[in-house]
Symmetry: C4
Subunit: 274 residues, 4 copies
């Protein structure tokens, strides 16, 4: 299965075309090496930003982190500039979501050079992690990713309705608990009680707020048993969609889409099905 | 697919018929605009009631909330009166569940005008949120909602039996934990232990009560592993029902209901299936 | 569908046969009334025993509870004696599980009359709740209950193996956490750490023990993500068994068992399928 | 279905062949008895190591545990030596994963005889529990185990992608919560916030870290509802794979693999399907 590059505006002159092929495509060996290198750099850089926020680490290794970030930003900047240089329609790239993420992941560092900023600005750099998707875009894995996303998309309407039911149920339960617990024991307002209801129905159960009165506990028991039965619904929706999509399989080679449930190979041309 | 209005008693004279069409139907542009306006007002009003219960907010913006509620109640009252005026059989509407909810969501405000009431009465207004269902009733989404509800209804008997098993299991586990923990560590009575058992089996796990003795922990481990395996049962019930209903699809246009598992279009007339 | 009574040894003489029909069968109106009465009494009595353990309640209403229990025990005793009198093979009933439960649910009261006992003995009376199953045995609901139980039975071998994997995984994780957390932060021994591992993998998450060191938290993250993926396995096992059993449907009337997936009525004789 | 022994290098001379058959095979009565004995010893020994780590127990029964461990290690050592003696290609066994586990589960004891070691070294002996798999390898249960493992293997690519999505989602949520909660209330660094995000999305919910600001709670609500919907995805993946594998059933006797969904017996030769 061939996948089109996102920006298929190949420039005509020699060196720009070569850079284009390395940066945007992954057919060639150089292209693939570039992708892997970029992937490692993104993961490394993300881990760095995360570790940087640990107070003790920052105090001790402030300089090392600064230089590492400096180095990474330089590389990403060069890559960003090359990406702009070697395509035809620059505007399309710069204002595409992918281009904005590329830009946002380098700019915070330069801002911090000019004036001292609120250190949370630095966390915008975390958006770099989204760049991973671009690389996987070109990879083999895309097919399975598509499968999951499209199954979710097709069952989305049912899931929306289910969520609407859930939200109304949660709001009413929250209001009831607020009344039952008389605004005490952490149920100090309806939004607070709604937070408790979500924590309970999703079976997360932090325990930062929990019912203290007998009536509140009784109501909780009912809510929990409901939540326990209800959890089956989204699973049922998604599972049945997954199953349906299986029998919708379309062969990539010959296009035949009339396959039985358990098809592993196209029954017309023998192509392996994913 | 056409959906009948809930109260199909159209009055004959001109202006009442027009109002009827705006309020009760959503075929016309005016009707749809009315529905969307009402939806926004309901959501806004619900959020207002919720936020109102936050202590700091009430203290600072008491007046603003009062006037907003005043304004909303006036609108809902006018709508309520119009609903009564423009249909034939008024009794049917007033004493229908939908009519009672409409009434209950405006009356608390008027009561609070006459004499100061326990402030929890005000929360009855939260029932307004149920009015959302009326609007969605008329919408496209209804079909999927029906799908979920009817799947749950058809598997309800199996779910009831499962819940009966669960409840008996929970009560016995609760009694055992009460004995094992010797009435200490929060397991002060059987109802309390049953509350713990529900919190545990549904995997909510607040941690407000948790076993402290070695034997209690051993029993908990068994209970948790059971709960983990048992959670598959309602999911299995609902999923298999969902799957079955898929193959029960009936075409809305030609009525043909003999479709394969993966039917997306009616095989007789080509109508798109939901 | 006809269900045989558990003890089909009908005595021949008149009054004993009549009592037998009331107590053991539910064909007649008297039999059904008896069953419903018994059901109410069992539920009432179970709730009573539960409430009795609440300290404040016992102090205030000691006498009332004593008399209620006295009254209930008398009725259950009479019922027990009638059950013995009106069947042929008494030994079979008395030593059957059902007979032993009947006996155990009345004896603690009589023991407490003779000498003061450890008050936990009284909780043996909770076994009464198991008597509910006898009543439902005779009811319509049995069919669906059988469905669930037999689906679980058929997938039990897969579930056993899954549990074996789980237990070994849990024990190893427990040992690792004990080492990683160095026996501190609640991970004071391997059994304690195994308890934590079960609490975590089943997603109960009390929070009475939770990792405190960075390495412990990292290990926990891996364990939680594993547990999250693994939960799909028992669900998958049970769901696929449920689906299989559907197509195994056997018509109660004509015995035909060749039905398609979505059969609601027997395709030979038109009997409704459950 | 016949299962080949792991090391099929049977020596030719008499007594070694007999020992080989007892230790490595389970066809003979002696072989099966040996397996069961070994299983009991492994379980007993594992429980011993676990209990040994409980502080009070160690203090009181130090000697008893020492002698039990001494006794068990001797048996395992004899078994290890016999395993080496009675096969042809010793290297293959010794350096196979199974051989290394066998070695690691006896060596810590001997090391502790020579010089006092960090007591966590003793926990390496816990690896003994993995030896259970060898015994089950030869047993009937293997078939179902294979079923589960191969279903997971076939859906692994989808699960990997799902986990990749999850991890990126978790990291971004963690970073957002760190900013929202302003590094307070336990969200002291991004790794810490990521730990919280995993605890929340997997619905474990310890409650050691929980949001305290209104905005943090709002974000948590969204995260929890997402997690609740997302949990359906791995279940859907695995369930649909389980279902597919069912129809892939291959008869052990005649090799026919064209069976319907609900096949319990091979339709060619009547062999029972698992």
């Amino acid at each position: 299965m061939k996948i089109k590059p996102e920006f298929d505006l190949i420039p005509e002159d020699g060196w720009r075309k070569k850079i284009y092929e390395i940066i945007y495509l992954s057919d060639t060996k150089a292209g693939r090496t570039f992708d892997i290198g970029l992937l490692i750099l993104i993961v490394f850089s993300t881990v760095l930003i995360m570790v940087e926020t640990i107070p003790i680490v920052t105090l001790q290794y402030y300089k090392e982190f600064y230089y590492a970030e400096f180095f990474i930003t330089i590389i990403f900047t060069i890559e960003y500039l090359l990406r702009i240089i070697c395509i035809k329609d620059r505007k399309e790239y710069i204002f595409s979501p992918i281009g904005i993420i590329d830009f946002l992941s380098i700019i915070p560092f330069y801002i911090s050079l000019i004036f001292p900023v609120w250190h949370f600005v630095a966390i915008i750099r975390m958006l770099r992690i989204l760049r991973i998707f671009r690389i996987f875009n070109l990879a083999d894995y895309m097919h399975d990713g598509h499968f999951i996303v499209s199954a979710l998309k097709h069952s989305s309407r049912k899931i929306y309705i289910f969520l609407l039911f859930m939200i109304i149920f949660i709001v009413i339960i929250g209001a009831m608990m607020y009344v039952v617990e008389d605004g005490k024991n952490g149920f100090s307002s309806i939004p607070q009680s709604v937070y408790w209801a979500v924590v309970t129905i999703t079976t997360v159960g932090y325990g930062d707020i929990s019912p203290a009165t007998p009536l509140g506990k009784l109501l909780s028991i009912i809510v929990m048993l409901c939540g326990y039965s209800i959890i089956a619904v989204p699973t049922g929706i998604v599972t049945s969609e997954f199953r349906r999509r299986r029998s919708d399989l379309k062969c990539d080679r010959c296009g035949n889409d009339d396959h039985g449930d358990s098809a592993r190979y196209c029954k017309i041309c023998g192509e392996k099905m994913v």
